[in-house]
Symmetry: C2
Subunit: 316 residues, 2 copies
């Protein structure tokens, strides 16, 4: 910003977990908001946010935080977004931007829009960024840097408001893209939702085996399994809601995944090595593309520490 | 070692890729071998190994490297291990240890044992460690530190020889466990082989979608997908061989995985949120166990760099 006035006067954050608290930190560090009002339903979480100094005011009542806000960002499990909209709808000022960070978008539009007055600009959003940790302590100001934030504005939203929200996300280091909620939900089903479901599933399958002990699974996890456990350690409530609210796209992509997997299983059974080799060669190129797109580190093994016991190690 | 004599007099390494070259480096750094003889079939790879100074002598002929060796470690795709055994069998000296690093063990025993004279100690092994990179440049001396190496000795192997091979792996920083080849193959099917197949498969499924562009898959991969691309970038020849040579165990675990996945899909279709929530809660505990077992970093997102463009980034 080149002048003294911040982009957003009053920023209300409803929900202060990994994403909400990262927005609070990034907005502060980058001087994007004049006042940060924080709201969450649990007293304990609100107290922790205050201890961390994440905002300027703290509210158990979402409506109190959202009153007079220029931008409200709802960062709660998507199954709760309708209830939040119902609570804040009556107090929203004319011209306010209402947005969210949910991992599904069509359902959020369906849940929230009925409660929002026509004088606000409703611009759902989804920053494609995160870690497997949750809660206000897990956030950090750099989380969105060089990551993509997808905006799915309703047709009635003012273009100037869309530009302002895009500028807010760019101010936190993100790249911004706009698409329809339905296309978002299909894209994310393949880049995020189905990968999470698969990861949860293989970790469950391993845990259920009678002939292999849990200790063996853990000791020999460096062969690949441990990569899956990271995303299978993500917040259970958030992810339950994602699957229930993006049902159609997830089931569609899962159907293709299972069909492809069964074809691979058949290739193994019939020892069709060429089919395996050709796929394994093709997939290498995709990773190179992701690294070139700046979405991944080129360091081997994600740059995990090697040559010293991992933190928390009790075996060394 | 407390005396001057190294644990192994002549160490022959047949194959000098990621694993072979890491053994060469780790054996050197830890003073475990008096002479390191390196063999590989391609002149170009052998020249590169020599440029990197990985050994003391370099041979295109595996038998030449293995002659007079006290320990021979075969580090080639498992489908090639029979041919290597046939080549080196006639020159092996009495009491020599013959081992390997293959990701499957029963097949390696079946392939190699017929060619090995009864006067050698055949002790197949599998260090559960690696990265997605391959070739002699990809190796590093710390690769095995705090990782597990599984030994699957044939019943006739001399216990003293087993102890010596275990000491060699411990000397490179590994923990050692002994089990049967068949149990190894089942454990690794779940901790490594099926996770790799699933990763290859989802990357292929994503690449095939008509409604989602490859550019979208890459840009929004930070939602989880990019984790899968790392292991789907592993060496295609090595992994083709793993699946063809551990067919039964892989098909058994895949069957369970698919069954579990279809049950989850059904829970999504019928909106049985509790089934999802319970699984997602259980899988979190497994990751904690892996971190406590020293097999994983506790850092969020594997400790990937945040807050600056990834190496190779062209979008920033």
């Amino acid at each position: 910003m080149t002048d003294d006035k911040p982009l957003i006067g009053r920023l209300a954050l409803v929900g202060i977990g990994l994403i909400g608290s990262s927005i609070a930190r990034a907005a502060r560090v980058n001087g994007l908001a004049g006042h940060i009002a924080i709201s969450t339903r649990r007293q304990e979480t609100l107290d922790r946010a205050a201890e961390l100094g994440l905002g300027d005011s703290y509210h158990l009542d979402a409506a109190e935080a959202a009153k007079d806000a220029d931008l409200v960002i709802v960062s709660v499990p998507v199954g709760s977004s309708g209830a939040v909209a119902e609570a804040i709808g009556p107090v929203l000022k004319a011209g306010a931007i209402v947005s969210d960070v949910g991992s599904v978008k069509a359902s959020v539009v369906r849940q929230m829009q009925p409660y929002l007055p026509s004088h606000v600009n409703f611009i759902p959003a989804h920053p494609v960024a995160g870690t497997e940790h949750s809660g206000p302590d897990a956030g950090f100001a750099e989380l969105f840097q060089n990551r993509w934030c997808i905006l799915t504005p309703v047709p009635e939203a003012d273009p100037e408001a869309i530009d302002r929200l895009a500028a807010f996300w760019r101010g936190m280091g993100a790249n911004v893209e706009t698409m329809t909620p339905e296309h978002h939900d299909l894209v994310l089903a393949v880049t995020s939702h189905v990968p999470h479901l698969i990861a949860y599933n293989i970790v469950g399958t391993a845990d259920d085996l009678e002939a292999v002990t849990q200790s063996e699974v853990m000791k020999f996890s460096a062969g690949g399994f441990r990569d899956f456990t990271r995303i299978a350690a993500s917040d259970p409530t958030m992810w339950r809601d994602v699957f229930l609210h993006n049902k159609e796209a997830v089931i569609e992509i899962l159907g293709r995944f299972t069909e492809d997997l069964i074809a691979l299983q058949r290739a193994i059974r019939w020892e069709q090595g060429d089919i395996l080799f050709d796929l394994f060669t093709r997939t290498r190129a995709i990773r190179r593309g992701i690294i070139e797109a700046g979405q991944e580190t080129a360091a081997p093994d994600f740059g995990r520490p090697h040559g010293k016991p991992a933190e928390g190690d009790k075996s060394a």
